[in-house]
Homo-oligomer: 379 residues x 4
């Protein structure tokens, strides 16, 4: 049932895909009501957009700083903020809201370097604030089920993990992928990294959350392949995990025919798990008899810890928005619990800022490996 939470949004103006997606994902479960926002750097645009979304004009803010201050003071202020601004600004925006005592949900990647991210974590911890990084894919019931299968020893010790996330939308040298592609491929806006930051962090996060393994070191080959590009668009990374498991992480932006093909294959001493985000209603589990078992999202075999996020019976598909909705389900529950004093750490079932920091460290290590000629770099 509804928790009567209120939230605000920074970014997500007209035409911004990701802001729209967050709003839909929160609406589908009626997790919280949008009551405030700063949707654009242009105050008029911000106000018009807020009004169109049904906000009172007084809560359509001209700047995120003003918003943080004002909402922090209101009695009926927002319970949390959703930050969906360009990546380079995440740090300052999140910081402002944390300092105003407001819980934060921030799109990934969390910041441009890991020290910024660690600072945000420090502030959040000091103030007892919640901080979610919206790695959407980990909201899928099936992703949580994979996590539980590994945790419960269903496939024994993890031996190697083949993880990949190829896309194809930037394959064409004449087409820079519109507004979305242009800023990603532009060193001025994206810094030293493109594909690995956008997709590689998802891969790293999926493996981390599904297996619980920590990366010990990486050997990265980051290539710029499509003519004219200035940043990596194909990354092939050898990985060693603490405890001895190995793996390969592959990401690409020119793999024609790959839409959004995050795929995780986990090979253990007693079984194998296959998970593919474009087919998010299903996990393939293979035990020692070699027989693939296709377990669907709402089958009795699904662990209760994962199944509880499902809304619909088997065969009634849930998708990407529902996955993001699941992140907000847990986050909203924690925010509400914070409000009424019942919060405990065990309630957290969303990607915390710790995962956001890990992602940035992964990118930094890969960059170093590439710059030094594809050598091993410890994390």
């Amino acid at each position: 049932m509804r928790k009567n939470l209120r939230y605000g949004m920074v970014g997500g103006g007209p035409g911004a895909f990701i802001g729209d997606a967050h709003r839909r994902a929160i609406s589908v479960d009626d997790t919280a009501r949008l009551v405030a926002g700063c949707f654009s750097r242009d105050p008029e645009k911000s106000r018009d957009h807020g009004n169109a979304l049904g906000l009172d004009t007084e809560r359509c803010y001209e700047s995120y700083k003003e918003m943080a201050l004002a909402e922090g003071k209101r009695k009926d202020g927002i319970d949390f903020v959703v930050v969906v601004t360009p990546n380079a600004t995440h740090y300052e925006v999140c910081k402002a809201f944390l300092e105003a005592g407001i819980h934060v949900a921030c799109d990934k990647p969390l910041a441009t370097d890991s020290s910024q991210a660690e600072e945000l974590k420090r502030i959040a911890d000091e103030k007892g604030l919640l901080f979610m990084v919206t790695y959407t894919y980990m909201g899928h019931v099936t992703a949580k089920y994979v996590r539980d299968l590994v945790k419960n020893g269903e496939i024994g010790t993890v031996r190697t993990i083949m993880a990949e996330y190829p896309q194809g939308w930037l394959y064409n040298e004449k087409d820079w992928g519109g507004k979305q592609g242009e800023w990603r491929c532009d060193p001025k806006q994206s810094g030293r990294v493109n594909c690995l930051g956008d997709l590689g962090t998802h891969v790293e996060n999926a493996v981390a959350m599904m297996t619980g393994l920590k990366i010990r070191r990486v050997l990265a080959k980051m290539d710029i392949v499509v003519p004219g590009r200035k940043l990596d668009d194909n990354d092939q990374v050898l990985v060693e995990y603490e405890g001895g498991a190995t793996g390969i992480n592959w990401t690409s932006q020119f793999a024609i025919g790959c839409d959004n093909s995050l795929r995780i294959r986990i090979y253990g001493s007693k079984g194998t798990i296959l998970w593919f985000q474009e087919d998010p209603e299903e996990v393939t589990l293979i035990k020692e008899d070699g027989i693939p078992r296709l377990v669907k999202r709402s089958y009795p075999a699904i662990t209760p810890e994962a199944a509880r996020y499902g809304r619909l019976p088997a065969g009634h598909t849930e998708g990407w928005l529902e996955a993001m909705g699941n992140l907000y389900d847990s986050f909203g529950e924690c925010v509400a619990a914070k409000r009424n004093g019942t919060f405990t750490e065990e309630m957290i079932d969303y990607p915390t800022i710790g995962y956001g920091i890990q992602g940035l460290k992964y990118v930094e290590a890969c960059l170093k490996s590439q710059e030094n000629g594809n050598v091993w770099v410890e994390l």
Copy 2:
């Protein structure tokens, strides 16, 4: 952008899956805001549920009649009502709201016999009211794309259609499927038909909306298979369409391993189309070269009339709630257009009451065929 529509709901109390689903589907696009409801025959339950959903107590009604009257009179009354009560009550509830001048969205099946349904249509037509029957699956972008492929002649003349919708949840004679299953299998609540009414009407509707073909006659075999059942749980229907195409419609409730397996295969003189609702992001199109082409929901190949309902880029899956959301997108647009006087028939892109009537006639013809020993019955 939001249309500032208001809606009410009849049915959909605590624990009712379908009411919850409609609310989510409307929320995901912010199509309308729930402001009134009669959620249960028990006034207290109705009120509590309405409050929990954020309604004012005065708009949590004790009966649907009271609600229809009151909302019909309010200046800020609901723009449309969503009827998700047990099937046997659809007729009376819908009638009350139509008579109060309120547009109606009603779950399928529309009524218990086609004459009731025709009466509802007569009232709606007289009053110029919109009436949607929520055949959810037809909301999928890919279902609309199939319709466009057929309409545009991409597969030539349709020759035969193999349509099926098996489920497995009622396979076990010891398990009557909980509350959901019990009323379906109970002649007192469901009348003369179970499986064919629940699933067969979806099959009939899918073929009708995708191909535009009208059924000329049917030869139905309706079997009661699982020991102890009293109504059909497996239906195998030979179909002849006007113009000469043929087909088979199969529905079952004991097909273990089938969750919600509505599958339509359309064979034409120049090509074949395969559509499977459990994989709703994809259509398989085969032309005369025999090569299956897998077209995804947001590919450039999708017709604009279908593509416009998509929310997310390729590979970001949309599911069943989004499909139902799409029905409400078109319905909401039409309701808004009615309000501001811009409505035209061409705007309708949802299953109208006419399809609801067709479905009932299909069931009636099948029952007659079965009762007469599996003979052909004209529609």
Copy 3:
């Protein structure tokens, strides 16, 4: 190891696909050596073809009658004959060899009517001769595994069987499918039936051999769809089996995109089996937990009675020729056992003439049903 069997062939001249296929299938296991033949009605062609295949000229016969007589008398005469002539001649050819005391392997359909077929059986039984009808698909290890699963009660009581065999090669009204298609579509050569005789008998046989069920009655709709055709090219048959199971058998020759799509889906009270001949290395077994299990041809789960026909380890695919080779493996074993007096009925693991007769009766019943306006006809 090789059994030193000798065989002859009637039919299978230059360009004849099916004769070539039988020879390859026998060669792949070195089951028998081709030593005699009558490959064509033209004696010169027959001799040249035999020579090209490595036969002595004296065993390249001018007529099948001469061949039957001569080989029946030789000390080193053929152990069995393979009959791959046009269907209408099967009866007379098989009869000649049976009368000469020679075991027979005959392509399906066995004869043009069931009384002929029964006569052949009578002769074979009287003389203690073996008679195989080469329903190729039943040679697949996976088909035998399906049979064992049903027999062993793995899916409980069979409730309904959805069986189909659509092809697409005759979809085009301007193209009669070359030599192969022309005789099939020609009433003078094929009698009263085309698609149902060619494909429908495979469907009937697959269900019979896999489930052990006997058909009680059929209700058939046999349509002539492609303009210009004179015989059925689309058949939709309702089936009732002894014991109460039901089913649908669908066959078509214009289903674009279907190559050779024999697919059997068996729904039982405790599980479901899916088998698809275009993916013959795999069976899908679903038990009451709803989880599809993909069992591969050479997995430990395969029953020994089925697995023993496999030649290669898992993942090394076997195909259609190997399936036919498996039929000859069992047939050759029985022929060899007949020769050395160790034969018992239990050794038979190929489709006997009894199945051939059943197939013809099925066709005859369907024709009667169609002619009487799609009514039930007992077998």
Copy 4:
């Protein structure tokens, strides 16, 4: 039609899978007749096995040397020899037959180091003898079709290639995979390499033959993972090709659920090709519209150079033996052409000794990379 070729075999005694497979593959097309052999080091076993296979006792030899000499001198001597002995003996056996003037077909890997292989090539070239290395998978029609698609520019310039060949049969530390596994895992019999030699060479060969690309350098991580193993059982290799394409080659022996999963994914500037040897009847081709097209082995779209090896119509599956048969089809044609003086280099459509040498160099470079700490090594 049959070419009346005669062949001999060295190795392939009772219970030897690979010798049996070669004989079946040659039989299925009647490419050549087995007339001589040395099947075992034990003369009695060799003779018994030869007799069981139908050979004259005088051509069941006690040693390969004797066989090479005798057959080289006979007027009706073998046209070619098939060498299927343990890998470590390939070199000496092949050399003996080449020196006797006999064409050679040898199982892979060709030798234990590349210098031996180069010596064999030198002898073959000097004597004008043919030398095939039986990389079976490249015999598939679909593999040849992939080669033609790349060659014809259908996917533009190749950018990256993700190639893998995981198996799972050696996952269990308590099970050394029987006779087959034991010698592979034993440094005494296999030298310094196990998995990479067995599977990695297939991967390298598939990419080489499909794309025509030559490897410039490799960076290999060769791990020993399953407890107790002494040689690599998981290899993850970064590859750079001449011209700038990149790729990853992954092979494993403990990937539970992977039977024989050679999979090649080729991403080009204008399209993508997916090929999977466990589904060898199909190629997925994706062009710039993003739509996967599933092209089957015998569709009109298949290039004539590939299609000519097919035996059966679409939907009649061909498998692994047929693929190997295809290698022998081309090899037999070349041997026959050598015999009658019509041979030209252009006729060769099988993996030559040159590919065998490349494979060994690939292994040697990977070993060096691994030994030096996963650094780039030029080929």
